[in-house]
């Protein structure tokens, strides 16, 4: 196998979708030629136009060409160094596309899928030896021009040299934070992240979306609150991820990954979050007198947000004030000691996130640092180790035990003074949003 790989030509399939054109745009920064392919040439052209608008550079066009699967795929794949597949997450669509790739790709050329749900080994099954050796998952998070966290997932037969090459290329030329994961359902980031998001969606059934997003607010280590996040990524995407995890794993929080019934019903009625005009939250139309609305999960109705009265949570303001001065240790300690049902719930969610992350080490990736990096740079959440280091291991252990969860051995057995966050170039402080 040559160790002189280079990327001179990347072909993106599904280049009209958000992930497709976003990834294609990313590649044009460092690759001389990128081909945008879609079902029709017109769709590929739409992808190219969207890519130019996203990165705000006409220069992208000079490195790009467009085409359709029927007319241009064979010729494009004949010179491609990397085929990047970003078509819809549906085996019935991906199967025929993989057949085409197999039929026309150059031996030795790399093939990557951006799938966030399907098994990489499953996609590789039945393909030629050369295909499998050169095939892996390369999971960018949306939108890839903003979010740097990227998962690299081998199949059982991926040539290690292919993984090393892609990891280095993406890190040094595309500015990616590369995390290697196992081929487990939802890989590492979505496995941990959507467990927390779904837990919040379950809580919303009784507490209502506004209280949940206040309790698991920015002060718990995230810029965007959980239910607002589900609205942004789309309820259908949320369902696909948690259903996949629920059906294909059996871990200690199994029922937490079960999609709430009220969400299933609303999805069937076409409620998919922001892209359909609203999910948990619905913004008032521009210029209207109506205020923003919020979902009542039990009924599926929306009521004005102004009609909801939230309990007083003075500890949140106290924490935000400490964070605003960079006093993160003191801020988290206020949460550890805060009285009241809301603070207890916030601790429960945080404890669950920490414990679940540490328990996944060895299953979804090699080290807690990998989970830290993908949660930090893929989700923009305070990585679990940052929370543990900032509150102190003893506080974290206490928080997990009080939540009724079993304490991961790595925390229970940690020597005093152990620092878990091992990513010196990342400012841990950026994850503590003062709001």
């Amino acid at each position: 196998m040559s160790n002189q790989r280079s990327l001179e030509h990347v072909v993106v399939l599904g280049a009209n979708g958000t992930m497709g054109f976003g990834s294609a745009a990313l590649f044009t920064q460092a690759v001389p030629r990128v081909t945008f392919l879609a079902r029709t040439r017109a769709k590929a052209e739409e992808g190219l136009a969207a890519a130019i608008a996203q990165v705000r550079s006409n220069s992208l066009a000079s490195r790009s060409d467009v085409g359709s699967y029927d007319d241009d795929l064979a010729a494009a794949l004949a010179t491609a160094d990397l085929v990047f597949e970003a078509v819809a997450e549906d085996p019935a669509i991906k199967g025929p596309i993989f057949d085409l790739i197999e039929a026309h790709r150059r031996p030795g050329s790399m093939v990557a899928t951006v799938s966030s749900g399907l098994s990489i080994n499953g996609l590789a099954a039945g393909r030629s030896d050369d295909f499998r050796a050169n095939f892996c998952g390369l999971h960018f998070f949306n939108p890839p021009n903003v979010i740097t966290g990227t998962e690299l997932i081998p199949n059982a037969d991926t040539d290690p040299e292919v993984l090393d090459f892609l990891e280095t290329f993406c890190r040094t030329r595309l500015g990616r934070e590369m995390v290697r994961t196992e081929d487990t359902p939802a890989f590492a980031g979505n496995r941990v992240g959507f467990k927390v998001l779904n837990e919040c969606a379950q809580m919303a059934e009784d507490l209502g979306p506004m209280l949940v997003d206040r309790i698991v607010g920015p002060y718990t280590g995230r810029a965007l609150t959980p239910l607002a996040t589900i609205d942004l990524v789309g309820w259908d995407v949320h369902r696909a991820i948690v259903d996949n995890v629920y059906e294909n794993t059996k871990d200690e929080v199994h029922e937490t990954n079960k999609l709430p019934d009220y969400m299933a019903k609303l999805i069937d009625q076409g409620v998919l979050g922001r892209k359909t005009g609203g999910g948990f939250f619905k913004r008032a139309p521009k210029g209207s007198d109506e205020g923003d609305m919020v979902l009542v999960p039990a009924t599926g109705d929306y009521v004005p947000q102004s009609s909801i009265t939230l309990p007083d949570m003075p500890y949140v303001d106290e924490i935000a004030d400490l964070y605003s001065q960079g006093r993160y240790v003191e801020g988290l300690n206020v949460l550890c000691d805060a009285k009241g049902a809301e603070a207890a719930l916030a601790r429960k969610v945080m404890a669950g996130y920490i414990a679940y992350s540490f328990e996944r080490v060895g299953e979804v990736c090699e080290s807690i640092t990998d989970i830290d990096r993908i949660m930090g740079m893929g989700f923009n959440w305070a990585p679990p180790s940052v929370l543990v280091d900032t509150m102190g291991t003893a506080n974290a252990v206490k928080m997990i035990a009080e939540a009724g969860l079993s304490v991961p051995a790595a925390l229970a057995d940690a020597a005093p003074g152990t620092q878990f966050f091992n990513h010196p170039t990342t400012n841990a402080g950026r994850f503590f949003v003062a709001a």
């Binding site: 992208l60 960079g326 170039t425 949003v433």
Partner: protein
């Protein structure tokens, strides 16, 4: 009389991609993260720090906050009562703080000093911020009533080169491309996820809009929020520090040379003064050469067998300022900077790497922090800890930090 050595013990840079206003954070949080990060990364106990110098340009304007030296005492209870102060020289503020701190170590007053360069700029809209930056020029004469005065002043620097030697936009675009590429290797760089390539830098469309004469968006460094803290130490402190860690004093970088000049404020006066001179900005040249002389270096390439400079962290507030730096460092003859650009001399693996960090264009330019950031990057290079942007085998790195339109210049040679 030999001057006592000043050692650089290490430090910490905040991620220049962060927007502290979006994080709802106060200036004091920026200071705290830089200083606590530096104590952690250099393994320095708070009780060892004897004095602190803060470099900052305009917190009074951007943050409605003065008396910045005093904010140092807020970081740790051990700092209450320490002598502190603040220094200002526009974009060279950080280097002026370093000069003051190093002079106090040379004078034997203190053994360990913290130097913080800091600026929070995302507090205001870019047009108002551009006007604040105009106070680094002679405001009434060069900035008042002008949108984004500084790109226009550095556009004039390009025009002056063009007049004297000829200047092609393509070479400026290549400087931009290289800084952005290097920034992709720097986890603390502001632009590490930004879209750039040479074609874009050369584009003459509204996506790469003109901001001042020949200066377009891709030619500019961008304002941002950031702070950097480094520790300067006496030989005695550095010897103990090294011994406690099983190191030799020779492993600890020191400031081998410094240069410092201030030219007249108005750009047109500077150009008038240099009309008959070899260099467009002779006082900048003098700053560079005096730092080299103090370091015992006769030539940037070490020609004639002497010690050489292994890489440069220069002030590329605009592509024209880096273009100017190339010949002022002596990498090429005056007016021939384009040759170094064309020949790949400035790449990280080239003959004289410039701005492996991405510089101001790629890494970002939180004004008061920049000089300290350059010194910290020099420290990283000569200790082999620069990660993906490491220059192989770097022993001596030179910085150049400029305030105003080539007005205040400071240069350091940091080496082991």
């Amino acid at each position: 009389m030999t001057t006592p050595d000043v050692y650089v013990i290490g430090g910490y840079q905040t991620d220049f991609g962060r927007n502290w206003t979006k994080e709802n954070k106060h200036f004091s949080a920026l200071m705290r993260e830089a200083v606590t990060g530096a104590m952690q990364s250099a393994d320095i106990p708070a009780g060892d720090i004897e004095s602190a110098h803060v470099g900052n340009f305009a917190a009074e304007l951007y943050c409605m906050q003065g008396h910045l030296g005093a904010f140092f005492t807020e970081v740790d209870p051990a700092f209450s009562g320490l002598p502190t102060g603040r220094h200002e020289a526009a974009c060279a503020s950080g280097s002026i703080a370093l000069l003051a701190a190093s002079a106090e170590i040379e004078a034997g007053r203190y053994d360990l000093q913290a130097v913080v360069g800091i600026e929070q700029m995302k507090t205001v809209a870019s047009s108002l911020g551009g006007s604040y930056l105009g106070t680094a020029a002679w405001y009434e004469k060069e900035a008042e009533g002008i949108d984004f005065p500084f790109p226009k002043l550095f556009g004039k620097l390009g025009d002056e080169y063009d007049k004297r030697y000829g200047l092609a936009d393509e070479h400026l675009a290549e400087i931009s491309r290289l800084n952005y590429d290097n920034a992709k290797l720097n986890p603390n760089a502001q632009t590490r996820t930004w879209y750039m390539n040479k074609e874009h830098a050369l584009a003459r469309d509204d996506m790469n809009a003109e901001v001042g004469g020949r200066i377009r968006l891709a030619d500019c460094s961008q304002v941002t929020d950031g702070a950097v803290c480094v520790f300067l130490a006496s030989r005695e402190y550095a010897e103990n520090y090294a011994a406690e860690r099983g190191l030799s004093i020779d492993d600890i970088p020191r400031i081998k040379g410094w240069g410092h000049n201030t030219a007249r404020l108005l750009f047109e006066d500077k150009v008038k003064e240099s009309r008959e001179a070899e260099y467009v900005l002779p006082h900048v040249r003098s700053t560079i050469t005096s730092a080299m002389e103090r370091a015992g270096i006769s030539d940037v390439f070490g020609e004639g067998g002497g010690v050489k400079i292994d890489g440069i962290e220069t002030h590329d507030c605009f592509t024209t300022s880096e273009y100017m730096a190339i010949d002022h460092f002596g990498i090429t003859a005056p007016g021939e900077s384009w040759k170094a650009v064309e020949e790949g001399v400035l790449e990280i693996d080239g003959k004289m790497p410039i701005n492996p960090s991405g510089g101001l264009i790629g890494a970002g330019h939180p004004v008061g922090a920049t000089g300290v950031r350059q010194l910290l990057d020099a420290h990283k290079q000569v200790t082999g800890t620069a990660g993906d942007y490491q220059i192989d085998g770097a022993k001596n790195i030179q910085t150049l930090n400029i305030g105003g339109s080539g007005t205040t210049s400071v240069s350091f040679v940091v080496g082991v």
